[in-house]
Amino acid sequence: MNDTRLKILTFIEKNSRVDLKELAVILGVDEATVVAELAAMEADGIICGYHTIIDWDKTAAEKVSAMIEVRVTPQRGKGFDDIAERIYKYPEVTSVYLMSGSFDLMVMLEGRTLKEVSSFVTDKLSTLDTVISTQTNFILKKYKDHGTILEKKYEDERMMVTP
């Protein structure tokens, strides 16, 4: 990957709302290049989306998230891909990862209530043929998400002026 692409990605991973003209100045490349590279990386599926980090706990919205460790029987010739696809098609599933270690798939789930999440696991996930077992872990509090600290605001503790 070329250096400009890497610089663009590193920057927008932290701040995807940056003005493109400004991004060009900051990275020391011209704006047309930035626009072209972004378009190319979107087309190539390198950039898959632009999301917002929200601390839902600070809103009135009811939200429960859970991480579910799933053990499955891989299928001949397909490995884990088919079962992963079965699972990620549910809209309440936010992420699915294939894992090394004592279980196979990590499924992240979002629901409105504990009950909603539990019934998804018991009714939909556990009943899939290839699923051997599940273990549900509810998230109690998010301290840091996607590299962003949700709790504390950064405070500059330096003196105002130093030589």
Binding site: K7, L27, D156, R158, T162
Partner: protein, 391 residues
């Protein structure tokens, strides 16, 4: 009663803009672009090593010159980054920040009271001149020029040299201008130093913050290592200002005498900081690279902002400062900064704090997030436009 204090100290002018600093430091609601230290926290693995050393009870003095392991790592680093080779046993001393190295270095070299001259290019960091005076030298200021991008030229150096000149302080990459010296500049300066037999105290504390090419140390130029004290430290490159750790490398004859003064005045640099520094210099290259890239992004942002604002400013390639000219407004730097502070609540530093020839300029630090810079520069734009409209 006799006067309890020494004339030499009383006569030393307190940093010219002390009053301004006092006002600023009491204004809690101002935005500041005024600091001379990184905004990053010390990388965690470095802090962790400091903590670990405390847990293990490594709380004793080290040898006067500092932990041998640290001196060895410093020598490897200087060789790897700047191609200068030093002997860790006899040519390195660990000091309390680069500041102590400046003080002790000058005291080790100057015969007090006989008029030996120390050349100090300005604008530059505030402590060279007082340290030279305390060492008993006669400081001689070389006024660097905007039209040379605040580089020191061989001619300027030559013009300042007398038969009393002993040491040239070489503060590049420069605080407050952001100027650098490139290899060709250094070679010309080195030639003069060798011809005129003068020593160089090269303050390279911002060496890692060079944005054009890699920094070149004057000590790496043939014939210079034997007449150079190279000063560097951990504050700027590893965001370790509060740890107070620096070092000096140079000819054994000088380091030996520096170690003597350091031994009586300080004993040794803080032990916890030394252990943390070993980790920094061994495993911190990636952190340095990452921070340098962040500074460089901000630097480009500011250079462009000043261009758009039509405020004359040469492109700085070092440290984390930009030094625009505000002479068009017909105010002193201090007036400009005070009004800017009062009217827009943004703190920047008057160029005159760094020597008389800094008059007409302001120092803006970009050791701040881009969001912060954007906010402050927006206010500067409003301020500048108001001043221009009033003319």
């Amino acid at each position: 009663m006799r006067n309890p204090v020494a004339d030499q100290v009383v006569n030393m002018k307190p940093s010219g803009i002390r009053k301004f600093f006092d006002i600023v430091n009491e204004m809690s609601d101002a935005i500041s672009l005024g600091v001379g230290e990184p905004d990053f926290d010390t990388p965690w693995h470095i802090r962790d090593e400091g903590i670990y050393s405390l847990e293990k009870g490594k709380t004793f003095y080290t040898s006067n010159s500092g932990l041998l392991e640290l001196r060895e790592e410093i020598c490897k680093y200087l060789d790897r980054r700047f191609s200068v080779k030093y002997d860790p046993k006899s040519e390195v001393i660990i000091t309390v920040g680069g500041s102590e190295a400046i003080d002790v270095g000058l005291r080790a070299m100057i015969n007090p009271g006989v008029g030996e001259e120390v050349l100090i290019p300005q604008p530059s960091y505030v402590s060279y001149e007082p340290c030279a005076i305390l060492a008993g030298a006669k400081p001689v200021i070389i006024e660097l020029k905007n039209e040379n991008d605040f580089r020191l030229t061989a001619q300027e150096l030559l013009d300042a040299i007398t038969d009393k000149t002993k040491v040239l302080v070489l503060p590049f990459p420069n605080n407050p201008t952001g100027a650098i010296l490139e290899k060709s500049d250094l070679e010309a300066i080195a030639k003069v130093c060798i011809e005129k037999d003068i020593y160089v105290m090269s303050d390279e504390i911002y060496a890692e913050l060079s944005y054009k090419d890699d920094h070149v140390s004057i000590a790496s130029i043939p014939g210079m290592k034997e007449r150079t004290i190279l000063i560097n430290g951990f504050s700027k490159s590893y965001a370790m200002t509060g740890w107070r750790l620096g070092y000096a490398c140079g000819p054994k004859v000088i380091i030996e005498q520096m170690t003597k003064i350091h031994q009586y005045a300080i004993m040794c640099a803080p032990t916890t900081s030394q252990y943390a520094a070993v980790e920094a210099i061994k495993n911190g290259d990636d952190d340095v690279k990452e921070m340098r890239e962040a500074y460089n992004q901000r630097r480009r942002f500011l250079v462009n902002a000043f261009k758009e604002m039509n405020l004359p400013c040469f492109e700085p390639f070092g440290a984390f400062y930009i030094f625009p000219c505000i002479a068009e407004f017909g105010m002193t730097s201090e007036e400009f900064c005070t009004r800017f502070l009062m009217e827009e609540k943004v703190a920047v530093v008057p160029g005159s704090a760094f020597g008389d020839c800094g008059e007409g300029f302001i120092r803006i630090s970009y050791a701040y997030s881009i969001e912060n810079l954007k906010l402050a520069i927006g206010k500067l734009k409003v301020f500048v436009e108001r001043l221009r409209a009033a003319k």
